[in-house]
């Protein structure tokens, strides 16, 4: 018993010593911190944050679960259910005045927001763009770093895209789209 105790103490001592020594290296903690930055370079950080939509003070982003959003902004004026074939999950479309939210089943989220579509000028993006704004106004609000094809201006950010469909030089539709779920 005594032997074990002594040896245990020895181990604790060794461990402590190594910890203390590590603590000694704590002065270099800043280095360690920067090292963290070095790591971040390996796994790009801040990739998940794309553009978010805001409604009644609640920010809504694609690729997140719909349930907490509904809890905050209330039930939609109507809800449409579109089951996929062969029991592979169900898509939902929640219609609110001025916009709709589409959900799809994702890997870990049963009902993940796949898209947010602004359909009328009752609502606008946090950056102040809505149906009827001109292309120039979109550029003023979001910059010119976008791609354009067939009248769709696309701002890619993180794992989502923000689309502005331009018709007759004004915004016809605003679409927050998840990359993975569309």
């Amino acid at each position: 018993m005594k032997k074990k105790l002594v040896s245990l103490m020895l181990v604790v001592m060794v461990c402590m010593f190594s910890l203390v020594a590590c603590g000694g290296g704590d002065d270099k903690g800043n280095d360690g911190n920067n090292g963290g930055g070095g790591d971040a370079a390996n796994t790009p950080n801040g990739s998940s944050s794309g553009y978010t939509f805001e409604y009644k003070g609640t920010s809504i982003s694609v690729n997140t679960a719909i349930e907490p959003v509904i809890e905050k902004i209330g039930e939609p004026s109507s809800k449409f259910e579109a089951p996929s074939c062969a029991g592979q999950g169900t898509d939902f479309i929640y219609t609110y005045s001025g916009f709709e939210i589409d959900t799809s089943p994702a890997e870990n989220i049963t009902n993940a927001i796949a898209a947010i579509i602004i359909v009328s000028d009752e609502v606008e993006t946090p950056e102040g763009i809505t149906i009827g704004n001109t292309k120039e106004e979109v550029e003023a609000a979001y910059g010119t770093d976008y791609t354009e094809s067939n009248g769709m201006m696309t701002y890619a950010k993180g794992d989502m895209k923000l689309n502005f469909l331009i018709k007759n030089n004004v915004v016809d539709s605003v679409q927050y789209m998840s990359n993975a779920l569309n």
Partner: protein, 353 residues
């Protein structure tokens, strides 16, 4: 002498152990592959086709908008059309194309209907859908081509050749059915029709979101061209069809493209979206809020389709064929039995809730 003996002993060992291992693998595979007939029935019909006599004068190829919306019994009873639906969940256009190629190996119908809803998908959608379409196909070059055209990045050809590799961890959720149906599955469809009896009215149907580009992809057109060529080659009348539904949206721009394509290639295109002639009521005739028809809706739609086929293509009436008539008598009985059984289940379900 001794060497010879050793050789034979080795030979015997290798052969016997080879046989044992192979039969173990075979049994395991039969046990572990999912049994579509008791699970996801949407994957069962592709294989069932081969059990029906290849004497169809109409073949319908497509996704759930085909196998849930058209009742072959109505087509037979009212119009004498002997049809089979080669349907599978989320069937993509290249899969339809290779299914057509596969079918033409077995028989040459008078007409083929292809569902063109899938023209909107240029990429494979999901592994599980691929499996439902491809696993039931008999091995042929068509199947191989279909697999390579369909695979998502995570899939491997070998896992289609040896499904055991794909389903190896299903031992975790085996049921009695997996043992019972190891060697033969139960038929689930009637000539490829999957009956649905529920009613869920279409409400609050959303408008489709505007798209930047409505043009179907070149890949899809390539396969559509291939389908057209195959039908021309075999002297089969090709009909492109969009089944009646209120959702997902079938955009006018899409409709226009198909119209143009049909005109250019001198084939028929039948768009049944918002077609009042059919007489469908989407408050009563759909089981999922307007995506697909229930049996009532399917019978109404099939009547319309039969009439249309008769007048537009002059498809023959086979009711004179005694053998076929006899087969269909049996099928009609099965159909009615299934219908009443399903209604009973439905009534019980609604009682429960």
């Amino acid at each position: 002498m001794k060497r010879k003996k050793i050789f034979w002993r080795r030979f015997l060992r290798v052969t016997v152990s080879g046989i044992i291992i192979c039969s173990m693998l075979f049994l395991l595979q039969r046990l572990l592959v999912p049994k579509y007939s008791v699970g996801t029935q949407d994957g069962a019909m592709i294989a069932e086709y081969y059990d029906d006599a290849p004497k169809h004068n109409l073949i319908i190829i497509g996704d759930s908008e085909m196998y849930e919306n058209i009742s072959p019994l109505v087509l037979w009873q009212n119009y004498g059309i002997n049809c089979y639906i080669r349907g599978s969940a989320q069937q993509l256009i290249w899969q339809s194309c290779y299914l057509l190629e596969d079918t033409l190996r077995h028989e040459t119908p008078e007409a083929v209907i292809i569902n063109i809803t899938s023209m909107q998908y240029a990429e494979p959608q999901k592994e599980s859908y691929n499996r439902m379409t491809l696993e039931g196909m008999r091995w042929s070059t068509s199947k191989v081509k279909a697999i390579f055209a369909s695979m998502t990045e995570e899939e491997s050809f070998w896992e289609y050749v040896f499904p055991l590799l794909r389903y190896h961890s299903r031992w975790n959720d085996l049921s009695d059915d997996d043992f019972r149906l190891m060697f033969s599955e139960e038929p689930v469809s009637l000539n490829g029709y999957m009956m649905q009896v529920g009613v869920k009215p279409a409400e609050n149907v959303p408008e489709g979101r505007p798209l930047a580009d409505y043009t179907f992809s070149d890949t899809c057109y390539e396969y559509l061209d291939k389908i057209t060529a195959l039908c021309k080659e075999h002297g089969v009348e090709l009909i492109l069809m969009k089944s009646p539904s209120v959702y997902p949206v079938w955009y006018d721009e899409w409709d226009a493209q198909m119209k143009e394509y049909a005109q250019k290639n001198q084939i028929k295109y039948l768009n049944c979206v918002n077609n009042d002639e059919i007489g469908l009521n989407f408050r009563t005739d759909t089981f999922d809020g307007g995506l697909h028809l229930n049996v009532g809706g399917a019978e109404i739609y099939s009547n319309f389709l039969g009439k249309w086929l008769q007048s537009e293509t002059g498809i023959s009436d086979l009711r004179d064929d005694a053998e076929l008539s006899k087969e269909w008598e049996q099928k009609a009985a099965d159909y009615d039995a299934k219908k009443s059984e399903k209604y009973k289940e439905l009534a019980m379900d609604s009682d429960d809730s």
